[in-house]
Amino acid sequence: MVIDRSLDFLWLIPVLPLVGFLVAGAGCLLRARAKSVVAVVACGSVALSFALSLLCVMALAGLPAHERSHVTTVGEWIGPLGLDWSFRLDPLSSVMILVVTGVGFLIHLYSVGYMAHEEGFWRYFAYLNLFMAMMLTLVLGASLPLLFVGWEGVGLCSYLLIGFFYTKSWCADAGRKAFLVNRIGDASFIIGMLWAWVLFGGTFDIAALIERAPAAAAASPGSVTAIALLLFGGAAGKSAQIPLYVWLPDAMAGPTPVSALIHAATMVTAGVYMVCRLSPIYVLAPDAMFVVAVVGAATALLAALIAMAQDDIKKVLAYSTISQLGYMFMAAGAGAFTASIFHLTTHAFFKALLFLGSGAVIHALHGEQDMKKMGGLKSALPRTFLCFSAGWIAIAGVPLTAGFFSKDEILYKAFLHSPLLWAAGLVGALMTAIYMTRLMGLTFFGVSRRAAHGDHGSAPHEPPATMMIPLMVLAALALTAGFVGLPAPIGALFGGHGESPFAAWLAPVFHAPEAAIAAPHPEGHSLELLLMALSSLVALFGIAAGLRIWVTRPEIADRIAVRLGAFYVAVREKLYVDELYDRFIVKPWYALSRGMGRFDTGAVDGVVNGVGAIMLTSGHVMKLFHSGYVRSYAIAYVIGAAVIVWYLL
């Protein structure tokens, strides 16, 4: 009844937050003050969207597995191109809408408490609701252009929210940087999309593209590889991969809930989602898959390395996000799309939790973000500490947490694909455990260093309930969400057989592409169990080492820093990547622009002004013939007549 009919209202899922955006936006323009109104409208619209998503997914689950793909067309969009406002719900997009609306709702709720004392409360929620609408359009869009509408929409909201405190110039700069870097990726995405239109015979519909891909790949494999790479270029921009990751650390200038929602849980995973959504096309281009895997692995390692030496709590988490996104791309590149989406889901939970937890810390310390000035918060913020710890052990990969299962799945699939990828992933996992433990050690353990740094403000206090509840829910999810995707050997222990419920749910989407390039699967579970034990050991070793270095013997950290010397400084300075970009791209670009500017003011304006000058000069000369005396005109007249008569005679 209700559930069966709900699929007809699929389009309402993105529209509900859009209505919330319109209400909040109107209130913002009318300079409304009542904060409770916008809080109810914004949270309510997302909550309704979440409820509807649940109903739709339940309806979808009621269908037989091979029929789980429902398209709702709301109306015509661009007729000549055959484009409609069509939304597609299938197992992949259903996972995404649940994550987006679920985590999104929790973060909306958290924001009510976090932003309570900020200016622009209405504006904030207007942007946040617009973001939800756009993200859901991205996820549900049935054609590439509609996906791209959402893609650009979330980029816009990201820009607006990074620069939310626009009166501070560095916030506005960070917003612009994010927007510009994303534009580079987006340009690549547009080219890839249009090329696909040409090559695949004039269609933008994702299902049709996938259907026609094998024929196109057989005809011109090079073009399909190029299209896959161009689309991945867009994903690298949106999902902060090498070489376009530089915007994400700066994006931390936005309010912390925004970092949690947009720059950790949802928007930055759009690239991963897109690659997985087009996985049947990617598997036809092994070279592109190789690039995706290598870029992902390299990003995972590089970002984890930089994260180890950052002092700003949000910067650590930002690099950690980049690193985890690298894992997802590594999985996708290795053909393990299910593992990639599984990690995307668990990462959304524990990274949102970590960001919200760091927000609670920053909130308690009145805006302090430097971990060197924290310490000893465990006793001051016991509940925040507990929640944060859940995220910590989940991302570090402590056995039986969500992060453990998803990361292990990726490492196992990477090992089957290439042991080298697995080794990179394992080193990354070790570094993840270390830098997260460092973050915990500097923030929560030890003694407070606030007084030593001249901060004598009021004592830190636990956040209000609206902030605490999302933290608790996410902490629970970070610890338990992994059980939906239990790996086969552990599932077997509990009497399950074959694939996990998560993999089974996604099988209609990913079974064919994964089968197309699957590495030979070894018999039995011994290899998987061995790898699992190995990565558990690595995670526990990382945590133990981190605790020893930064908690029990803090002087070791300084000694290591001195021993590493220039290398440590380079890592702390983010390997000078921003400086390199500035030196080799931004500065030359400015020089080029200035050259162009001179060409414009010199050559182009010169021609235009020259024409004017010629007219003016000739006018001055001609003016001399016009004395204003009637007689002179008459003489000219007579002479002219005489000349004509003389000529005729």
């Binding site: 004395s627 005396y629 009637v630 007689r631 008459a634 003489i635 007579v638």
Partner: protein
């Protein structure tokens, strides 16, 4: 009978007098009268030619010229009057408003 060449000489003298008047005088009225002189010189040639060639075409044109001269006098005098009312002068050297 007066030969055509004499007619031409008289009219040429008349035309030259008119032309010199137009070019040298400053008063609008005198310039006007000089223009009439030139017109009449032309009319004289038409009539003389008509007689010499034995056709009526020239005499016909003489009437046309007179008509045009009458219309021109009406319009021209109106302009001179309007000019005098506005500027209190008929000196053409003082009428150079359109010069930039």
């Amino acid at each position: 009978m007066i030969p055509f060449s004499s007619v031409l000489i008289v009219s040429a003298v008349l035309f030259a007098m008119g032309l010199v008047g137009v070019l040298t005088r400053r008063s609008a009225l005198v310039i006007f009268m000089s223009v009439e002189l030139m017109l009449n010189a032309a009319t004289l040639v038409f009539v003389g030619a008509s007689r010499a060639l034995g056709t009526m075409d020239g005499q016909l044109f003489a009437f046309f010229v007179m008509t045009v001269a009458a219309a021109e006098a009406a319009v021209g005098l109106a302009i001179v009057i309007a000019l005098f009312r506005r500027r209190r002068t008929t000196d053409m050297d003082h009428v150079s408003l359109l010069k930039w």
